[in-house]
Amino acid sequence: MNFTRKVLSSQWVRPLLLIVVIVLAWDLVIRIFKIPPYLVPTPEAILHQIAAQWSMLLEESLPTLYATLGGFALSVLIGVPIAMLVAASPLIESYLYPLVVFSQSIPKVAIAPLFVVWFGFGLFPRILVAFLLGFFPVVVSTVMGFKSVEKDLTDLAKSMGSSPVKTFFKISLPHALPSIFASMKVSITLAVVGAVVGEFVGANSGLGFVLQRANGNFDQPLIFSALVVLSVIGALLFVAIDMLERIAIPWHASHRSRLLGRA
């Protein structure tokens, strides 16, 4: 009884339990509303498909994962410095920020074909789409984080003869880390979507390619299988960043009670 409770409330069981519940609910909805298989396949059909295509799905996950991680890495490596420039200088802000914002409301699926034309059918254009989707949240949140540094803190740094670059690395960046991590969580899931969109447009591998092919074949179970795999990849990456966050900023208010709980 106590054991059952413990198992049920453990951190790892909960998401699994959740998945089971979702699958059951899905099945029920399909049965109750008599949703035909040409609209939404049954969980059974999907599980069947996943089991059958297991190795193919796993194999095709890899290129998608690479593009995602590449795009995400670029998002952070380029997004944070951009945010730094924007936060540091109102002049740069007034020129760079609108440009960044302009670029955001464009559906990437509409311009992705151009990347294929310019950069070919390799990994790069997909990384680029993943980057374009992923970097904006990083920029916005990081700017917010940088700008919310209290004057006292920057005063302290100045009185220590700190250069702007040093102040950035020792004060602003750590201060903004909670915001940056929050944005990274958004960014990585968007990077997954970006990678897939990139694959839609021009690729002969990856889950986006699988989706596109399944779509043409009207293979609903395969479409949903690919979507399930994508969700899992996204969720795992999200969890990875969440764990990284706990390690990187144990000092933050959101983690205090967990890591150093009160007796």
Partner: protein, 303 residues
């Protein structure tokens, strides 16, 4: 007057101008039909929309419809407008690719999964090409066109209509197509689709619709420019007139196969239907029990 909503296979282009011509000329009105035309977003969604009562009838690819119907969607084709499939390999004329054997060693752009990619497999089997004979690059239809224009690929697999015209217009050079149908690889394509209950309960309405449509298509065959003008009258911003006329002109030859060359519009041969269904079942890896042509086509409404 009965109102009827027809969902097209895609956004408007020259190929669907006949429907607009019929509207503008009042052919549908004359049959007591208030026809609403709705642009579409691919054949699949159109078939789904018909199956789920979101629209009354649709204009969609026959093979896509067969696949959806095989999964239980209660739909049928009631008229096959494009009996010959325009899928080809398209390339610039100066690449001098004239026969299937010329494809060897070239780069071919394919949109994976879509209807033309399956015909491509049939074609390869028919003419004895192997995957290893050429290089393949894949992407969405837009990308395949771009690839040929930019030289990333020598050929694309697609309709000998819009992609071909797009390539010619962009490069200002003549393009050429190797038509699969010329090698006896043919699957009926764009058709009028209706739901089973509609067929049962509103047979008369559908008959009238088909009559008016046949008239519209006949007129368009004679004067494609007039059809496009009718379209542009309804939707002034739909696109360039020249391009649309060229598209319609390129489409018209596919209304009939050599077998039905003399037959009136929509009069498809039973063999065409049987062969098409058999090919779809085989190449889409459908259950063999799905190979029942009568499930997918009824000739009862052909005028």
């Amino acid at each position: 007057k009965d109102s009827l909503t027809l969902m097209l296979n895609y956004t408007v282009n020259g190929a669907v101008a006949p429907f607009y011509l019929g509207k503008v000329k009042g052919y549908y009105d004359a049959e007591g039909i208030d026809l609403k035309l709705m642009e579409g977003h691919g054949s699949g969604p159109t078939v789904q929309a018909v199956a789920t009562h979101n629209v009354d009838i649709g204009y969609a690819d026959f093979s896509t419809m067969v696949k959806v119907a095989a999964m239980g969607a209660p739909v049928k084709a009631i008229g096959v407008l494009m009996q010959e499939n325009p899928t080809s390999v398209v390339g610039l004329a100066d690449k001098n690719i004239k026969t299937p054997q010329d494809i060897k060693g070239k780069t071919v752009a394919v949109a994976p999964g879509d209807a033309s990619s399956q015909l491509w497999t049939m074609f390869m089997n028919k003419v004895g090409l192997k995957d290893s004979d050429f290089k393949t690059i894949t992407g969405n239809p837009q990308t395949t066109i771009n690839a040929v224009i930019t030289g990333q690929a020598d050929l694309l697999v697609g309709f000998a209509t819009i992609p071909l015209i797009s390539v010619e217009q962009a490069t200002k050079k003549p393009a050429r197509a190797i038509l699969f149908a010329d090698y006896n690889v043919n699957v009926a394509t764009l058709s009028i689709i209706a739901r089973d209950d509609m067929i049962k309960d509103h047979a008369d309405l559908l008959k009238r619709f088909m009559r008016a449509t046949a008239k519209s298509v006949n007129d368009s065959e004679k004067d494609p420019a007039a059809a496009v003008d009718a379209l542009l009258k309804t939707l002034p911003a739909a696109g360039s007139r020249d391009t649309m006329i060229r598209t319609l002109q390129a489409t018209i030859p596919f209304y009939r196969t050599p077998e039905t060359e003399k037959a009136p519009i929509f009069h498809v041969s039973a063999k065409n239907i049987d062969d098409s269904v058999a090919a779809i079942v085989q190449y889409s890896k459908l259950d063999p029990s799905a190979n029942v042509p009568a499930k997918y086509y009824t000739g009862a409404f052909v005028p």
